[in-house]
Subunit: 193 residues, 2 copies
């Protein structure tokens, strides 16, 4: 998505070689018309995938998933995140999965109430960033627990220098990223063609 | 908002006399066209208030604030929440405020990067629930730190049996709630007229 790459170059802040902050339009301040364009781009990519529901994870995935859901005409669900990795074993009304965060060097627990993903659902997973793919894989795990199907994974910005794509493709999912960053640093941001 | 009250009666789950869960359209699964109606209702209430930016708090305020921001044609900003109440004193780029949660009987810290609220901004604060008003007051505190003005506070569901309205009105803010619940329990949900 050309406009996204231009926006990342204009407004993204690169810290070192691994951190890209896009706080002024995507995940702190939110540029609503631009996020709507991103939502529409996901619709164009996945409109033939039979999507019945969109699943993301709080908090930064919510605006993009909300915008996309409008174009698909389906509900959006956001998984809730709990800092303690331990599953709540007494919570029979929840699907839960453990996600390892390389950034924080610790695991967290994600949860979705069972009634919001149904057997037969075709779920489009959407997130703002893909790095190591652990969050996307955790969401896909929840979809499978529900007896539903992953229609695809839509990512706004993929860190192409990390192994997230390999992780989710090995699991057999179609992944589409609107911008793939191959490297960052003093020489600027290099996107994959 | 009549349609909201009807939806709360239809889909809300009352637990005891104080907890109302609206997980199936507002804060876990999100009914996008309905949230857009809510966003439009806030626009109708505050369209003459000169709003330049909308401020909410992660995660459950985001869909409503996003929907409202589209109608106002302004950016949306969400404050980030940190479970540790201690301020990061080294973080000169942040506005921070402490919020006490009665539910959790503990304080947390909310943060907004300084460049996303500017002196002269007229900020509409939006949140999904109002209970004791501490979150809204914390957001208003951040607006004042920034030298900006609170244009108003828009709430989807107010727990009228708690003192949130008094808290924010004492601080001098205009508050508008789309539904005010005066009591809940075995006899159902009673709304304020």
């Amino acid at each position: 998505m050309k406009r996204l790459k231009e926006r990342i170059v204009k407004d993204g802040k690169v810290i070192g070689t691994e951190i890209l902050k896009v706080d002024n339009f995507l995940n702190h301040q939110v540029d609503v018309p631009f996020i709507d364009e991103i939502g529409k781009a996901f619709y164009e990519l996945f409109k033939d995938a039979g999507v019945t529901r969109i699943l993301t994870i709080e908090a930064s995935g919510i605006p993009v998933a909300f915008a996309a859901a409008r174009f698909f005409g389906v509900p959006m669900v956001y998984a809730k995140k709990f800092p303690n990795a331990v599953k709540d074993e007494s919570a029979e009304h929840l699907y839960q999965s453990e996600v390892y965060s390389f950034t924080k060097q610790a695991s967290y627990n994600i949860r979705v109430t069972k009634e919001y993903i149904r057997p037969g659902d075709k779920i489009l997973i959407i997130d703002d960033f893909l790095a190591n793919g652990k969050a996307a894989a955790g969401l896909a795990d929840i979809v499978h627990q529900a007896g539903a199907e992953v229609a695809g994974i839509g990512i706004v910005i993929e860190k192409g220098f990390q192994n997230g794509r390999q992780t989710v493709e090995t699991l057999g999912y179609r992944i589409e990223s609107l911008a793939i960053v191959d490297s960052m640093g003093e020489n600027g941001i290099v996107f994959r063609e």
